[in-house]
Structures are given as structure tokens and as C-alpha cells.
Symmetry: C2
Subunit: 204 residues, 2 copies
Amino acid sequence: MIIMHHLRKSRAIFMTAFLEELGVDYELRLYDRNEVRRAPPELREVHPLGKSPVIEDQGMTIAESGAITTYLIDTYDTEHKFAPARDGGAEYFHYLQWLHYAEGSMGSPMLLNLLTRREDPKPPIVTGFTKGETALHLGYMEAALEGQDYILGNDFSGADVSCGYMANGAKQLKLLENYPNVDAYASRLTGRPAFQRAFGKTGG
Amino acid sequence: MIIMHHLRKSRAIFMTAFLEELGVDYELRLYDRNEVRRAPPELREVHPLGKSPVIEDQGMTIAESGAITTYLIDTYDTEHKFAPARDGGAEYFHYLQWLHYAEGSMGSPMLLNLLTRREDPKPPIVTGFTKGETALHLGYMEAALEGQDYILGNDFSGADVSCGYMANGAKQLKLLENYPNVDAYASRLTGRPAFQRAFGKTGG
């Protein structure tokens, strides 16, 4: 059975919600952040980076959200409900860009917003970078979501796992006043029954 | 023919080097950073994020380094020289984790080192995060490279495109004094004939 290593108050909630979307059996192992809000050392025994989400399945330990999502889809989504078939040409590579985009491109400015949220005054170079990049990425996602419910269209996909984490993070940081599509997207994702079940089982 | 949009002094050099590794024909379009060291607005006409590398091929425009690498391998590396076959089980997912790792996990602390390299004093929260995460990621890569030349073993792979950019960035930022394996890895990659040809054609 899949073992899901879930750190509370982290991006793990979106992966646990994805396990619920897939409808697979899994064993949850829950971790709390330590007193300085970092992942606890026990997670380093699971994977040397000591982060979450990490899954174990079929003798493998898999980290990195995009790799875990791909593994789960390849292994359990045999009907291609959550991603286009790999031979799908443009449709597949459109999906793949969004799969890489969230952690690879939007992740850094979102992290900078998080790290500097209580600094006053904000560090000048970081703030200069962060403001422009945040607007760029939220504007990009806002445009992509125009007239559609999810990042690939009107159906939830594996690309929404990481994109959802970023959108919801931006919502928590109160960055979405001018981005109604992203705001509605974050609410739509956290309102899904699978997310609610994951939240109920993990506490967030 | 593949069109490669290459911003000088960026991660694009590792993708152009990968095109050289693949031995495919491609047309180079070169861009210089503007007066504030950012990508020029012309790149926004290629892709809304206005970044590089971006490729165009077979009617598609593809951004995100991991997605571009995957596209190039799927399309042109038919002998699986640069990545395990997709049905390769553990070997494939080991590759996939490294493919996602560089931009998804190591990218943020490397960016923070870059952005704050001239700030004095360093912003406290950012520095607290950056120091620990930099040591974590360079230590992880150092251990992975023990006794092997490239990130997957003794052969260069698609996972070295982004991992190479991160390792070489750390070298440029003079962060590798205690990480001899990462330092040698960066030099090994930039010393490859393909990289040297890409450098010669682009100016970096």
C-alpha cells in the first residue's frame, strides 16, 4: 500500500487530496512542524531532504511533487482521467509545462512572499524582485484560468496539485485582491470533496 | 526546425548545450539582458512569462526547463541515451525526481543567494532560511555525486541540464568550497564539447 508522509501545514495537503481524487488506498503518516516551524528531523529518515510530501510505494521512495504526481498517474490513473496520454502531442506538453511550472517558476516568488511577510522594512532587492515576479505569475495564472475552472480546462488534473498549492498559498498570503480567477480557483480546489476528506484525515 | 530562444547569461546555456548533445538542427535566437539585468520585453512575445529557455518546434511553444528537456528527449532521443525508458520503473522515477528537483527544490535557495549577494547586512529571515537550505541542497547533491560523474551515474543525462545549471550557479556564487564533488561536476559539465560549442555559438 502507498505510504504518504504528510507534514501538516505544508504542500502535502494537496498531494493527500490527490490520493483521495485517485481513490487509492494509502497509509497516512502525519508529522507536525517543530518549534521553529520547520519539518521535524524524522522526515530526514524518510528522504535526505527531510521534506514533505514524500511517498513510498512498490519499494520506491519518491520526493518532488511533480515526480510524485507523475508516478501516481502512471501507476493508478490507467484511464487517463487526470492527465493526457503521454503520446498526446501538444495537449500532453501543455499539461507538462503546467506540471513543472508551479514548483519550478512560481515557487520562488511565493516563497519570498512567505519569508518576508513579517519583515519591515522589506529587504530592497528581494522586494524589488518579489513584487514584479508575483504580479507576473499571478497575472499569468489569472489569464490561464479565464473562462475555465481548472488549469487545463474544465476538469481537474494532476497539474492542479502543485498549481493549487501555489494559488492557495497566494490566497493565504492575501495576494489575490486583483486576481479573481486565481482566488476562485483556490476556493474551488479546497472545496472539492477529495480535499475536504484529506483535510479531515490530516488536520491540514 | 527547432527554434531555441536563448537569453545570454541565463539557464538557457545549459539547454542550448543539450541541443548540442542531442546533435539536432536548431535555429538560435539570441537575446541580451536589459539595463536592469532582466530579460528583454521581446521574450514576452515568445511566451507570456518572458523568460528563457523557450523552444518552438512542431507548432508548439514550450517553456519550463524540465518540460523542454522531456520534449526533446521524447522527440529526438529515440535510443534513450539521455533518460531511462518511461517504463523503467525505479530507474525512471529516480531520473524524474532529479529532473524536477533542480528547478523545483534547489532553485529557490540558489535564487536567494543570487538576489542577496550584494545586500549588507543580509535580511535576517531570508539569510536564516538561505544558509540552511543552501547547505541542505549542496550536501544532498554532494552525496549524490560521490563516486560518479553525473547526477544519475557515470553518463550524462537530461537530469544534468537543470542540475548542471544549479551546480554551476553555485560555483559562480563561490558557494562550493566545501562541496568538491559539486564543484568538479560543474566543471565537468561546462567542459563538455557540447557545452563549449553552445558557449561559442551564444556567448554564454
